[in-house]
Symmetry: C2
Subunit: 297 residues, 2 copies
């Protein structure tokens, strides 16, 4: 088969289900053949960052299920929900071309039927950073991810490190509630200039887009300085914030050094750490993070 023919064959295999019953029937058939299943939850508007998750899932398991659900419960601002990009036809093509077997694309009534009254709340790791700026966001994320995991019961589920606090929150929830699944974090995919891929990047003006990569440059330079112990974290982070300000980021919600495992605040990188940032550029809120690996001396 030619590559084009293979791609066509692969594309024709993407099945779409919209109910939990149909999802379970399809996944049950995979399981009945003793085959492993990975889940990649998405809110659609797929870009290369999502496709990296799909390819990661493909390497981990025989089957890849993607979900597409723009979860109203995790939006703290109605305008952000209304502006969220949607392109199911485009998403389907990209999923098929990257080896996804099955797309679960439920409607809101399927996920939150009348009388829906349950929420999953993770304390501690959700309190700083995004949690302090987006009230209710992580309860919305934890609730929908718990549902998706229990609807599909995959062996593995993959989430991007781009939303690092979300990844840590989901890992904590899965451990605490004994959800029988392995949660994999997948490294952030970046543009050539370092800007992390995000569906929100589409909202940047050309001028803002040209300046947006400064957020990654500040992260990597600050992380290097923190790892080398060049001065106190307070000083290094103050310089980083000033540099973001000069590049036009305003306001800066946070630029914080945190423990990699439980997100407690650190004043030096004396254990595995993460440097996380959220800042607004030209009306668009960008978030990003990088690891800070303590230098061994």
């Amino acid at each position: 088969m030619t590559r084009a023919a293979m791609q066509t064959a692969s594309q024709s295999e993407l099945q779409i289900v919209r109910s939990v019953a149909d999802l379970r029937r399809q996944v049950g058939a995979m399981r009945g053949r003793g085959e492993s299943v990975a889940l990649v939850p998405t809110m659609g508007a797929l870009h290369d960052g999502h496709l990296a998750l799909i390819r990661h899932a493909r390497r981990r398991c025989r089957h890849v299920v993607a979900s597409l659900f723009v979860n109203p419960k995790q939006f703290d601002r109605p305008d952000d929900l209304a502006a969220y990009p949607r392109d199911e036809a485009g998403d389907r093509e990209q999923l098929a071309a990257n080896g996804c077997d099955l797309l679960f694309a439920p409607g809101v009534a399927q996920m939150y039927p009348a009388g829906f009254a349950t929420s999953v709340n993770v304390a501690q790791v959700t309190e700083p950073l995004e949690g302090a700026h987006r009230p209710g966001h992580f309860a919305g994320v934890a609730t929908v991810v718990a549902k998706l995991l229990l609807q599909c019961l995959p062996d593995v589920a993959a989430f991007g490190e781009k939303d690092y606090q979300q990844l840590i929150t989901i890992q904590r929830m899965v451990r605490d509630l004994d959800i029988p699944v392995e949660i994999d974090g997948v490294p952030t995919v970046r543009e050539a200039d370092g800007l992390a891929l995000s569906s929100r990047n589409r909202r940047l003006s050309a001028d803002a887009r040209a300046r947006a990569a400064e957020i990654h440059a500040v992260l990597t330079d600050s992380a290097d300085a923190l790892a080398d112990g060049r001065g106190s974290a307070a000083t290094i982070l103050a310089k980083g914030r000033a540099r973001l300000g000069r590049a036009g980021f305003e306001p800066i919600d946070y630029l914080d050094l945190r423990a990699a495992d439980d997100l407690t605040q650190l004043d030096r990188a004396d254990r595995p750490a993460r440097l996380l940032v959220a800042a607004w550029l030209d009306g668009v809120r960008l978030i990003d993070n990088v690891p800070v690996v303590p230098a061994r001396r």
Copy 2:
């Protein structure tokens, strides 16, 4: 085999596990043989009410797993937790004699490891009745039951109608989070005089025990009057409360007519309903409930 020999043989089959890993190994072996599994969560101090759950589970599935865990998160008062009766040796004998295969009896550190930060919260159905009198109780119940269901992944789990609001809460949680299990409610087991079995009954003085059955007499008489439409619910319930007061119940936390499915307050029994009561007798808090089936005329 004689009955005694059978009972001995049956007793020798009760296996005990204390870790989630061992529980999953045992249940996995049952599943591997294509056999069904029912779970009966308990806090121990077993009486005939619990054994009715075990026997119900036995009729529903090939294997019966019981759990024994006195869950600190669902006690709103430390003295109530400290006073909760514990008798694992006696519980094991009764489980074995009633056809339970496997007992999961984890310690607190197994259920709530360091850094535990997640809670499951069910709104609406948890707000009145017990929820109004025991802050945090149902979050503790929902969290531990979610964990037990996900640790064991049974086909069926059985809960007593004695704790009717708990049963409704668990059914709502299971539906909302898509936990793949069927929740069965099992009718309350009563003493000859009508008193619902409860591990708390042991705390009643002989005099209080003699008067305790009045709570059930008031429930059944009031339920009959409500079902027949003999006057308004307000009048019937006021009479019931007065009668409880004359029998020495003080305070009466509630005597309420509620919809059977979502526990909304009703002022007449014009749909399937439940009459629920909580009242103190001689320092012991008793709860009970009965169905109210609207009369067809």
